[in-house]
Symmetry: D2
Subunit: 138 residues, 4 copies
Amino acid sequence: MSRLTRFSVSLESDLLARFERLGRARGWTNRSEALRQVMREALVQEEWERDAEVVGTLTLVYDHHRRELHDRLTRTQHDHHAAVLATTHVHLDHDNCLEMIALRGRASLVKRVADELLATRGLKHGRLTLTTTGRRLG
Amino acid sequence: MSRLTRFSVSLESDLLARFERLGRARGWTNRSEALRQVMREALVQEEWERDAEVVGTLTLVYDHHRRELHDRLTRTQHDHHAAVLATTHVHLDHDNCLEMIALRGRASLVKRVADELLATRGLKHGRLTLTTTGRRLG
Amino acid sequence: MSRLTRFSVSLESDLLARFERLGRARGWTNRSEALRQVMREALVQEEWERDAEVVGTLTLVYDHHRRELHDRLTRTQHDHHAAVLATTHVHLDHDNCLEMIALRGRASLVKRVADELLATRGLKHGRLTLTTTGRRLG
Amino acid sequence: MSRLTRFSVSLESDLLARFERLGRARGWTNRSEALRQVMREALVQEEWERDAEVVGTLTLVYDHHRRELHDRLTRTQHDHHAAVLATTHVHLDHDNCLEMIALRGRASLVKRVADELLATRGLKHGRLTLTTTGRRLG
């Protein structure tokens, strides 16, 4: 946790009042917390745009009866083992599996590994979620 | 323009420094302006989620040689004339047209009119952009 | 309009049935139209990713009493007149204006012009919508 | 895996050629696989819109030194244990943790549980990813 800075700011009263109502609705505990949230969201987007070191989580859904699919996913993850932090496998029902894969590296590398996994034939659905290492978000 | 409120806030120094760098990169002129931008973005999203009165702009691309398509777009807009503020037509080349349609009303109505226009057979591309009447964003 | 190609394809029956229900709900008139829509959406995204020539529409909301804002928007558009196809101005109420600006050029140029306009101090909201020249979408 | 249906479809030659190039670039192995991918993406979106039973994965980044934060996240997950399928915790560095939480239930429930977790004071970043149980995507 980093040192706090106290500063003052002038904003339109209406804008501030509406933003505070929104913060309460979302459960943000106070004005500082609400500002932190929207500032961090903007910063995470920017880390991905300038190809900084980031974390991404890849969500995949597939039918595990397609054995070659599961094997190929595992092989691709091993090919990029330095970028794969962890993988969790959830049995959704008799046929369907969910896999959550945590990836870390420069944004362009994380996207490339994700694209390679997303191209696996037979996936039902897959999506990369962009997040952060947390280092630069005090 | 509404009255200004001055208040002070405590934030992690690192977070603040990074947010200010981002603001400079995007051309936001100072700390207050940068905070305003991210607060407003959150508020516009929330107007759409709670079905407030909003403004949307619909962007359509199509081949104007398909006469029935242009006629149907015009008819649908007339059916909802109270929600359609203005339409601009741009000739992109010999075949292709761009149409920008400004819509206003409750979020659910704007989405319904947009969906009806987007379902017009033969469109090459279409997308609804969510924005605001500006009234509640001081 | 380009020549049609007829081809056959094998898909899981359940997937096809569900996709056709979705298409009917959205008003797509038949199976070919529904496939066209989802194929085009993927292609428009790809045009932007590989920096092809594209069309973008920029939606801005602001208070026109801030005269310097309106002047700066106009000036920036003139600076990039080759990229600005058309601008429509809508009076939302006594204070608020909506501006829809059609931009054309390589994706990176359209984004840069949009970013410059979005950085104008005092805007209430702004958003760039990604669309296509239509040329490569038969 | 469901039974296959074979059918034929007519599409503009240019559109088809471009879509196949895109499919090759993304590693989709053939025309059927490429069509499956874009159809499924549209269907997953629709499951969330009509509040069907869905799967979501929640990605959180936080500083684990804030003990009350970790405790509150755990407590909230237990409060909704029927919706939480699995949680994976990754140590990103000395300070930062990544948590990937798999949620299942009607779309509105999954969103509510995610919102409650996302409102935890002190999170650095969090995002809900929308996916599917896979049941209706043959």
